[in-house]
């Protein structure tokens, strides 16, 4: 039994990892773009991003996920997500990317605004281009500032992947739950918890390492 459960949970874990990684890969750059936009000088853009972020952060991720998965089918008359597992994962990733990009944008914005203007001005006075100033001066200081709040958010993301169960994506929690339904046993649920703990434990170690790496400057 233990072996069978482990195997199923592994299957679920693989889906969880896919959702997690794909969400990160797309939401980090998107969040950066939104963050730069909302920290920038363009008033209308700022406002638009602000409202968008407000809506996304102000409503449950689960609700967004349901709308994204079922909405297109009802509005367009045909489901844009193929009905298989891949389609469910894709829909989940789309919803998560939008949601997490908003959370990340707020963190990035704080990071950008947290770098003193004097840093940028010092670069300007030294004849650096805008992009040189961003990549050579601001970026790393920003990264240092955003790592702690970012690690919190990313750890939350790991746990949020369990929401994909609502559209029947076979992720880790769903896998653990399936044994309760089919065999009436609860210990796989606790075993599932161990999987999450291990996942998050590894991430925590990674973030601690990054924070240490950036400790050489203030």
């Amino acid at each position: 039994m233990f072996g069978a459960v482990t195997l199923e949970l592994m299957k679920g874990l693989w889906t969880t990892i896919q959702i997690f990684l794909l969400t990160l890969i797309f939401s980090l750059p998107l969040g950066l773009i939104l963050g730069v936009g909302s920290a920038g000088r363009w008033k209308i853009l700022k406002r638009v991003i602000q409202v968008f972020v407000w809506i996304i952060r102000g409503t449950p991720l689960m609700l967004q996920l349901i709308i994204i998965f079922y909405g297109p089918g009802l509005w367009l008359g045909h489901n844009i997500w193929s009905g298989n597992e891949a389609g469910r994962i894709t829909a989940t990733v789309v919803a998560f990317v939008i949601n997490y990009a908003c959370y990340f944008s707020v963190i990035f914005r704080g990071g950008i605004e947290g770098v003193p203007v004097g840093q940028r001005e010092a670069g300007q006075v030294l004849g650096m281009t805008k992009s040189q100033i961003f990549f050579q001066i601001t970026l790393l200081q920003m990264v240092k500032r955003v790592v702690p709040p970012m690690s919190n958010e990313i750890i939350t993301l790991v746990k949020d992947t369990s929401l994909a169960r609502i559209i029947a994506a076979y992720e880790l929690t769903f896998a653990g739950f399936s044994f309760m339904k089919s065999a009436g046993i609860t210990w796989p649920l606790f075993y599932t918890g161990v999987f999450y703990l291990a996942f998050i434990g590894i991430l925590t170690l990674l973030f601690n390492y990054i924070e240490k790496k950036l400790d050489y400057f203030r």
Binding site: P116, E121, A122, Q124, L126, M128, T129, Q141, F217, R218
Partner: protein
């Protein structure tokens, strides 16, 4: 011919006029000190020279060429703006060193980035970078910081940080080096080391504009002094004359506050 001519510069933020009809010129190799009470527009003037603020009026000429002319607004490309900027260097009151770089890297970063635009950069990369590093080390040595090259800013005292900032500003060989109250953010016991370095630069005939509250230093080191009040130049002239025998009543009043202090 004067290396720098500032003609009728005006600057307002919204409805507040911060600089009014500011004109002066500076000869190559001379040091100009700007004194004046808080809020008189000294920082704004330096920021205008360094293109951190855009004057509302007036003209700025370097070596006879207009680098800025408010009456003929032109859309400058980033490239052009950068080239014009490099006529000037600026040392900030609060240093603004780049925290993630060592003292040496702070000094050499801009020069290295600029070198990438050289045509021979790809073929001569190693040699060019070595030369820049050597130049950076020489500048740090000149600042008395040869043994601090590998230190990060947070590992340096305020006086050392400011000297690194001076080396950084010198690295690109600006025609005119500006200082905005270079010692105001320092503990009193650390001002001496920074003033000494600036004095050394003056002795080497570095063209400088120094905003300062150190009157004795200004009198000693500067060739000319400008006294500003409420955005106007109230008095300008030979440094010793302005400090010892000010012509204007307002200058006298301002200076008397310092001699008593």
């Amino acid at each position: 011919m004067a290396i720098l001519e500032v003609k009728n510069i005006g600057k307002h933020f919204g409805s507040t006029e911060v600089l009014k009809d500011v004109s002066f010129s500076l000869e190559e190799g001379n040091a100009l000190a700007i004194i004046g009470s808080s809020g008189s527009g000294k920082t704004t003037l330096l920021r205008c020279l360094n293109f951190l603020e855009k004057p509302s009026q007036g003209e700025i000429l370097v070596k006879g060429n207009a680098v800025f002319d408010a009456s003929r607004p032109v859309k400058m490309s980033e490239q052009e703006l950068r080239r014009k900027r490099l006529h000037f260097g600026l040392v900030f009151q609060a240093f603004h060193l780049f925290p993630q770089y060592t003292a040496l890297e702070n000094v050499t970063l801009a020069e290295k980035l600029l070198a990438q635009e050289r045509e021979d950069f790809k073929s001569n990369k190693k040699q060019i970078l070595e030369e820049i590093t050597e130049h950076g080390n020489a500048l740090l040595a000149q600042m008395g910081l040869a043994d601090r090259a590998a230190h990060y800013p947070h590992q340096l005292s305020g006086g050392q940080q400011q000297r690194v900032a001076i080396a950084r500003a010198l690295a690109l060989k600006p025609d005119i080096l500006c200082f905005d109250e270079p010692t105001s953010a320092l503990d009193p016991e650390l001002t001496g080391e920074v003033l000494k370095v600036i004095r050394g630069l003056a002795e080497q005939k570095t063209t400088m504009i120094i905003v300062t509250h150190e009157m004795a230093f200004a009198r000693d080191v500067a060739d000319q002094i400008i006294f500003m009040d409420e955005g106007y130049i109230v008095e300008q002239g030979d440094a010793k004359q302005v400090i010892d025998n000010p012509k204007e009543e307002r200058t006298r009043r301002f200076l008397s506050r310092y001699s008593q202090g």
